[in-house]
Point group: C2
Chain length 110, copies 2
DNA sequence: TTACTTGCTATATTTTTTGTAGTATCATCG
DNA sequence: CGATGATACTACAAAAAATATAGCAAGTAA
């Protein structure tokens, strides 16, 4: 039996889909990861993602860092130069985001 | 000017990932679709998804129906019997949810 | 020196989500 | 036949999340 199937019965506790949405479900998260395909600086990322509020944006970065989906790297030579990059854990979401993007291309942006 | 503007996103308008998150980004949405692998009645779905608030839950169902990801079917014989099911558009998200679940299995649930 | 950029933080306001209660309609049981 | 219970919601106040806007310290460029 598939492990996905038997988790559908519970009250959402151990269901992997609900586990995922606790990580990726809040606003901007998926865009953020998407735009971190290559390492980016704070302001760069902010511009790419769009109309994000800086407080939310920073909070999301901190959360994703804490969950080990991204890494924050501050250049000690030049402070004020901060780069964010995906961890392996985060990088493995990219094919899924690609699939979502393909779905969107097909069904949304015709 | 840097090449930020001519990428897929710019200000988030036409980026397929941001388009997707406008549909799936709010809470419960992905769980909802996941549990609609087979058609379900309102209360059944509610129990599966877990601790959802009924107002949010209904709002989400209405929104997904409006976006044509799910269909609402009311049995005319027995009113009060309502079933929700995925449309083809919605059904094509299931492999992606499977991939997310697999990612969760690997990285989240030991 | 002065102005500007970067990577944030602070605060008040708006929007979303929640908790809890309630309701109309029907079926079923006694 | 009336009481009881389930179903599919709706209503409304309160809590939580997101937003707009302003500001700030440290560095960099002119």
């Amino acid at each position: 039996m598939l492990s996905i199937a038997n988790t559908t019965s519970g009250a959402g506790g151990a269901c992997p889909v609900s586990a995922v949405t606790r990580l990726l479900g809040s606003r901007w998260t998926m865009q953020l990861i998407h735009h971190l395909r290559q390492p980016r600086r704070y302001s760069e990322l902010q511009a790419l993602v769009g109309e994000v509020n800086p407080a939310t944006f920073t909070q999301r970065l901190r959360f994703l860092e804490q969950q080990e989906l991204i890494m924050r790297h501050e250049d000690p030579e030049h402070a004020r130069h901060v780069e964010y990059a995906l961890t392996p854990k985060g990088r493995e979401l990219l094919p899924i985001l690609d699939a979502l993007a393909a779905w969107a291309q097909k069904w949304l942006l015709v």
